[in-house]
Amino acid sequence: MTRIFLAICVVTSILFSFSCVQKGGDVNTAVATGDTIKVGAYGDTTGATSSFGQSTKNGIQLAFDEINAAGGVNGKKLEMIFEDDQGTPEKAKTVISKLINQDKVVAVLGEVASSNSLAAAPVAQEARIPMITPSSTNPKVTEVGDYISRVCFIDPFQGSVMAKFAANTLKAKTAAILGDNSSDYSKGLTQFFEQEFTKLGGTVITKQTYAQKDQDFKAQLTQMRDQKPDVIYVPGYYGEVGIIARQARELGMTQPLLGGDGWDSPELWKLGGAALKPAYISNHYSADNPAPEIQNFVKAYQTKFNVAPDSLAALAYDSAKVLADAIKRAGGTDSAKLKEAINATKNFAGVTGTITLDASRNAVKSAVVLELDPAASKFNFKETIYPEGMTPPTAATTPANSNMTANTTANSNTTNAATNTNSTANTNTANANANTNR
């Protein structure tokens, strides 16, 4: 009996190793079979940041549906294979291996949280499968290798946007930072906010940290309350931020709370409620922007998924469109050619702005500052801030330029007017203008 059992074990293990070798053999030459091109996507749909993964999945789905309805790419349909990584770096690594080795996808889209992208990126780089992260902003992500790129701006810029807003618009002299010590995203933002804020003449008087899933922040907040900062910067994710806001207000702290794109989730309003005022975040795009291609996207998304798109959905949509465009330009899915095509993306008109990848495969884009309005559960557009030395998009007209150099507050009405002039003046580049004018 034991012998038979052993024999079965040996036979199956041989079979397994054989099939593994076979699989390993064509990893790098993953070819699209039949009439579909398989694209992998992964994100957190059941973990602590599950609204991020859900939005990303929806954004990609919408983009693929639109592309397929218009005839696909090079006559082939795009097919998304989505894997849930529960928001943990270990799982992210596992699911990206599954997508690449088992499903043989030609490219991967994901993750949102930088820590998860950082865990998965080396797998894609090693297998030489292009990976585009829609919304991981930590600079280290694309430093992993030339197969990793992103369609969003990076944290040195995002951190400086909020520092500029705090120092110039809110006239803050002192700031306190409460960061998430378990996330690369939050650590990066903390560092870059402090750098820029100090450069602009402000002082960061206290820095405190918490860990993801903490429930109580009153100890850190009480310590901050004594130091009376003008603003409090909380570069975290929505789950903790809502509670931090509540507890700060309970302790009688009325300072403006500042944050980043990690706050952008429909759940934020339920968790934070009225405590989320006054509060401002830096983000990738504003759904209020009246530019037609943004409104078309918002409408299409709303009809399909019955919820308003957050910036993560918009970025995912853009990343999918950038990928489709690159496949078209590469004339196929050969991974080396596809990588070259993605990295050569230039002036791609997306929902979140004009996407041009720089030498380190990061998108150079403007950011918007949004003001939170908990009563209406929405983000209101406040101002647009451009990266230093960003050359305005090719056909940028005077209003765009003046916005850029002055960093002034533009209310949505004037933006609207500027957009309209642009689109009538130059229909070809209207999209680009509309986005960067926000």
Binding site: A219, Q220, D226, I243, L251
Partner: protein, 305 residues
């Protein structure tokens, strides 16, 4: 000074919750010599039950003190039933094997509950409805206390008094003490030990569920993995106070809560960053095990080998 008082209030608030959970650990250990690792998850189940009750009975739309009381008692009752069911179907069948078997069953049970809830509710954090108006009251100077903090103190003190009454002044309590003293002798004296054990699980689970609802009222964010850290800290609290010792569990909970809050508040002056908050609880555990293995209030019992 008012900052210190504020930090102390913050610390004792979480400490009270740790104490409520620690009581369940300590009671089960006292009776079965079992560390019930699924206990932290019962705390989470309590919070979710409260969430479902409050939303389905319409208290979320019309918050009232009455709604809170119904939610609290309802989720305590349901959690008690779940605690008994876990004991009946997971622990009782393996009780006759070694203690290690039960311990591993407990760990399995804990993971099962966590991921069952991830499966049902997804891991996304939910907002617990605010059932009482959460006003802040000034103690003195800058130090404030919120209504939900007062609620935590009052309810946990009441529950602890009730527990003390049950254990020392009722027949059931006497039976529990007898079983904890010696299970087999108690059986010989005609005590229905299976029922006493089930009752202990029910009692502990109800207390943990109360902790869950109170925390959710204080920090309105619940997720399926919220019980892991609280469970571990409460376990440390139970060991700190002397596992199996009921006043010890309360003392341990308050000490852990205050210690970690003060580390966040004042640690930076002596070079301990606020990130070490969780490390403090476990450092205390290690120190206790080294210096006074029986815990603060525990008595040293010689183990027969």
């Amino acid at each position: 000074m008012d900052t210190f008082v504020q930090q102390l209030v913050n610390g004792l608030t979480i400490g009270s919750i740790y104490a409520l959970i620690a009581l369940g650990y300590t009671m089960v250990y006292g009776i079965l010599r079992l560390i019930n690792f699924a206990h932290g998850d019962i705390y989470m189940v309590g919070a979710y039950t409260g969430f479902i009750l409050a939303t389905s009975l319409g208290f979320a739309a019309n918050p009232s003190a009455f709604g809170f009381v119904v939610t609290l008692i309802g989720s305590m009752a349901i959690a008690a039933a779940i605690g008994m069911a876990i004991e009946r179907f997971a622990y009782r069948p393996v009780r006759k094997f070694s203690k290690m078997t039960t311990l591993i069953t407990a760990i399995g049970m804990s993971l099962f509950i966590e991921y069952l809830f991830v499966f049902i509710f997804s891991g996304t954090p939910r907002a617990f409805p605010q059932l009482i108006t959460n006003d802040s009251y000034t103690l003195f100077g800058n130090a404030t206390i919120s209504a939900s903090q007062i609620l935590i103190f009052v309810v946990s003190i009441l529950l602890m008094i009730a527990l003390q009454y049950i254990i020392f002044y009722t027949k059931m309590g006497k039976a529990m003490r007898a079983v904890s003293f010696n299970l087999n002798s108690a059986k010989l004296m005609g005590i229905n030990t299976d029922f006493v054990i089930a009752f202990t699980f029910a009692l502990g689970s109800a207390l943990a569920a109360a902790g869950g609802v109170l925390t959710a009222q204080y920090n309105p964010k619940i997720d399926p993995l919220m019980g892991i850290m609280y469970g571990l800290k409460a376990f440390v609290a139970a060991v700190l106070g002397g596992i199996g010792n009921i006043p010890g569990a309360v003392l341990g909970g308050l000490v852990i809560g205050a210690a970690e809050t003060l580390v966040v508040g004042y640690g930076s002056y002596i070079g301990i960053p606020s990130t070490y908050r969780d490390a403090v609880a476990f450092a205390i555990l290690i120190l206790v095990l080294l210096i006074r293995p029986a815990g603060l209030l525990g008595s040293n019992v010689q183990e027969k080998v």
